[in-house]
Subunit: 315 residues, 2 copies
């Protein structure tokens, strides 16, 4: 895979004068009105790179939109409009109908309207541009994490990565777990909540698409800070914890949950928000001065997650 | 090529409640403020479908954005922001740098800022989402052409199609003409003008991407009208006229000029606007009640452009 950040940022980054935030976060921001920003992002899913040729088209329709929804949520925005560009090798109407069913189920779930796009002949590829709205005062930038902020994640991590591992190379694991893992991979579930309410409790956010460590690193780079992560606090399926398959959680990716940072003073409100809105929120660490990520085990020692083979699921 | 309109409109068209105009025109419209719309569109260019593998990357960078600019102009809007999603088979930095040079030259020319996007691994494909602004009172919809409206086109038609024909199968034609034709194909030049000033003179518009006849047919379908086109009035290179290679003009496509309709009362103002702004504008026909396109030759007879082989360039 290309280092997309490097290429985009080096070659395509130009100073933008009229907008609030351009390339370099999950989405760009431009003025909507005195109190709100438009949040805009575009993500592409390609066959063989982002999904396999035998992926269920309905799940693919869902996922194509869900990963874009996730970008809007991570800025503290609520998604609103989408444009869908599809390249397909042939006009397989059955496939396209199934894809559209999944797409519109996801659109309905997150309150998104499809307003445009095109369908062209080409290698199978889905490119979606999504627009959302965020309150200016609560917008969640990667660059806005503060020293000593608590680090939080939504949902559970590692399941989608487990599904991908299993598809690539079968291994011994409970059938129900594998079924859920493949579902997590093919039909990710970003949180479904009014982000205008959630965002005011936090300072910064990123969505977990590449994996906890690489995505947290983006926050570190933009905020010029470090992070301590408590391994035992990471929300993961029991099987992953018992098998110490931590690489799935730390570097697996495809979770499409949010990593957020918040002042310690928000702690109680976040717990309350989590209960009232039935959004699983886990406090997993804190921002530090070190400019590094330290994964701290329950015995107080550091996990050497950079070493290959620290667990047998690490590549 | 897929009939994109059919697939998009049948499978993806849903009634949108909160927006002014969704799928079915060159771009979608949603509220910007009391007087303006945001105009938004997304177009994809795929290798082997929209461009050849040996296309000059700088020209491709230009064209990728120019075809999207054209969609905004055709709604009466001025382009403003773009998001660029690129799929590339490998990280060829030289190629990407050249592509970006062309992209940014076009962006500078039309006043567009790049605000986001992504770069991923995949079959070579460029998907651009573009945002522009239009005055609500002057927005140019395909559905708004009126009976007896004059039909106008900007620029010159048929040159890009001539270039494509030549690349596919060489034929005897002046070298300078072929050079210009390939340039027209690879580096299209949508008009560069303040559309807020131009749009108030016209009722409707479409950009000429598929060819004069197929694109005019979209206007006819949306407006429930017909059109008389005067063959001799169509702006085309002398060589095309002398060789009666009319199919290049009527069905060639890739012109990225505008077809507009205007009340007869605008005639003088349009001529003045054309002179002051140095935009070539040709009056080529009128909207009729027939629901058909009639191409009228100088002797008053109809050109049977549906018949194969009406000129030796017709497919």
């Amino acid at each position: 895979m290309l280092k997309e950040f490097e290429i985009i940022e080096k070659i395509f980054k130009k100073t933008s004068s009229s907008i609030f935030l351009g390339i370099g976060d999950d989405a760009a921001l431009f003025q909507k009105n005195k109190k709100e920003f438009w949040v805009i992002s575009q993500d592409t899913l390609n066959i063989d790179t982002h999904f396999l040729s035998n992926t269920d088209p309905e799940n693919l329709g869902w996922k194509s939109l869900a990963v874009n929804v996730s970008d809007i949520l991570s800025m503290g925005g609520n998604p609103r409009y989408a444009l869908l560009s599809m390249s397909v090798p042939s006009a397989n109407q059955v496939w396209i109908k199934k894809f559209s069913n999944g797409f519109f189920k996801c659109a309905k779930n997150y309150g998104v309207e499809l307003i445009g796009g095109d369908t062209t002949k080409g290698s199978l590829s889905i490119s979606i541009c999504i627009l959302g709205e965020a309150l200016q005062k609560n917008v969640l930038l990667r660059s806005n994490a503060k020293l000593n902020d608590d680090i939080w994640v939504t949902g559970e991590l590692g399941l989608a990565a487990l599904g991908l591992k299993y598809i690539k190379k079968k291994f011994d694991a409970p059938k129900v777990l594998i079924k859920n893992a493949i579902k997590a991979l093919e039909k990710p579930q970003p949180i479904d909540v009014d982000m205008k309410k959630l965002a005011k409790l936090f300072n910064s956010a990123i969505d977990l698409s590449d994996g906890l460590v690489p995505d947290l690193n983006h926050v570190l780079n933009k905020s010029a800070l470090g992070a301590d992560i408590f391994l035992e606090s990471l929300p993961m399926p029991k099987w992953i914890r018992e098998n110490k398959a931590y690489s799935l959680v730390l570097k697996g990716g495809d979770d499409y949950q949010l990593l957020l940072t918040a002042p310690k003073s928000s702690y109680k409100k976040i717990i309350e928000f989590s209960i009232v809105n039935q959004i699983k929120m886990s406090h997993i660490g804190a921002m530090t001065k070190t400019k590094k990520i330290a994964i701290i085990k329950s015995d107080g020692r550091l996990l050497n997650y950079k070493e290959k083979g620290y667990d047998h699921f690490a590549e």
